[in-house]
């Protein structure tokens, strides 16, 4: 059966990146379509009329939306590399931390670098709190998923990659190596994984783009 897998995304978005990592871990062949968020394609609007956002995974013509939903879909559809563990309690734990990263970590990280000036200081403090929680959760494990990259690690691309990029682009310090030694080790292991490396956008280009988009005088959203 000829299978068609298309991913609509934005190069540089950690949400898109997650999906690429997952597809690569599963060995799925896919076509990538890059969207311009200021000029969304008719196809994207057709597949995601409710949110009009990326990423969108289209599998044999059927769209799957929302990065966490897509990750579960990928795990359930393609065998091979397990993204979620098998045990229900471990699955619930993985889902909990994935949600924590999306609900608490990413917004704080983003705001601390790119938010309104008056919000940034508070956001920096919040980042420190949430990263410490993750540091404690990591315990002695190599990855959040244990020996191998799992759901939480994939979702944590916002910390493994985006955090460092935002820090440099916005010239804000968020990662304190003394306070977060495990997390820093995790970031090194994360970035050394070959499937992850293949899925990351070019760092320098992204930094330049972020500086231009968010900090230039004629920046618009």
């Amino acid at each position: 059966m000829a299978e068609e897998v298309v991913l609509f995304g934005v190069r540089g978005s950690p949400f898109t990146c997650r999906i690429e990592i997952a597809l690569k871990l599963k060995g799925v062949q896919y076509k990538y379509i890059n969207e311009d968020l200021d000029n969304k394609s008719p196809l994207l609007l057709k597949y995601n009329p409710v949110h009009k956002k990326v990423p969108v995974l289209v599998h044999n013509g059927k769209p799957v939306l929302e990065s966490l939903v897509i990750l579960e879909y990928i795990d359930e559809t393609w065998q091979g590399y397990p993204i979620l563990p098998e045990d229900p309690y471990e699955r619930a734990t993985a889902r909990f931390w994935a949600k924590f990263i999306d609900d608490k970590c990413f917004p704080a990280i983003f705001k601390s670098c790119w938010g309104e000036e008056k919000e940034r200081e508070k956001a920096v403090e919040e980042v420190s709190v949430v990263l410490k929680i993750l540091e404690d959760e990591l315990k002695e494990k190599k990855f959040f998923g244990g020996e191998n990259v799992g759901l939480v690690d994939i979702v944590a691309v916002v910390i493994g990659f985006s955090l460092g990029v935002y820090e440099e682009a916005a010239r804000v310090e968020l990662l304190n190596k003394e306070k977060l030694p495990r997390l820093c080790n995790w970031i090194d292991d994360f970035l050394s994984n070959s499937f992850i490396k293949e899925s990351l956008p070019p760092r320098d280009k992204l930094i330049a783009y972020l500086r231009n988009y968010y900090r230039s005088d004629n920046a618009s959203k």
Binding site: E66, V69, E72, F96
Partner: protein, 231 residues
């Protein structure tokens, strides 16, 4: 299965707390409902959910599981002899999860906004809620495929996610003097809501609208303070 092997920490007015209770009822699992006192958090809650300190928490044996929809999925995966809460097809599962996320992120925010908004803001939130209900009406048509629930013949994940808000939806209607679920605009949802509230798994845990109205008044009076514990 020992009755106290499964516990739910929660508060009766919370729609989020309803969700695991409905799921356990569907699976015919006996559990202890440990009610939190409004305005304070028990030691057990703080220990079981140190990150968020919120209800609901499911305690299974000695393992705490947090976040209402994550708990529902856990219940579905553990108690496999009972009726399934999620469909088996990955695409159908993705659709249910998508709309459940929509309910929690967009729809709930609009409903919450409507309850506390004044003047001009009210109209904006009302439009958002109405729009949300229109989308959910359409989703109902597609998901139910002519059957009784979003999950088909029986209550499923999305029924639980959305249905748990029906009590507060009715409160919002009364407080704002508007009809949100409407025979003309959302006929499918109107009938679905009746079936949902009448279902054996739901009836015993759905709070009476009058009691929720009283809670709503207390909360409105405390509006300047922190919102009540729920996630």
């Amino acid at each position: 299965m020992a009755k106290n092997d499964v516990k739910v920490l929660g508060a009766w007015p919370s729609p989020y707390v309803m969700r695991p209770r409905i799921a356990l009822n569907i699976k015919s699992v006996n559990y202890d409902f440990l009610e939190e006192t409004f305005g304070s958090k028990s030691e057990l809650l703080l220990q079981s959910n140190p990150v968020h300190k919120k209800v609901p928490v499911l305690i299974h044996g000695d393992k705490p599981i947090c976040e209402s929809m994550i708990i529902v999925e856990y219940i579905d995966e553990v108690w496999t002899s009972g009726p399934s809460i999620l469909p088996s097809d990955p695409y159908d599962r993705a659709i249910q999860r998508f709309w459940a996320a929509y309910v929690d992120e967009k729809f709930f925010a609009a409903m919450k906004g409507l309850r506390s908004a004044q003047g001009e803001e009210r109209k904006a939130f009302l439009d958002q809620v109405t729009e949300g209900l229109a989308l959910l009406e359409e989703a109902f048509g597609k998901c139910s495929k002519g059957k009784a629930f979003f999950g088909g013949d029986r209550i499923g994940l999305l029924d639980i996610a959305f249905g748990s808000f029906l009590g507060w939806l009715k409160v919002t209607e009364k407080v704002n003097g508007v009809k949100l679920l409407d025979e003309a605009k959302t006929p499918g949802l109107v009938k679905w809501a009746e079936r949902f509230c009448a279902d054996a798994a739901v009836k015993s845990v759905m709070p009476e609208t009058e009691k929720l109205l009283e809670v709503s008044k207390v909360l409105a009076a405390k509006m300047k303070g922190a919102p009540p514990p729920k996630n």
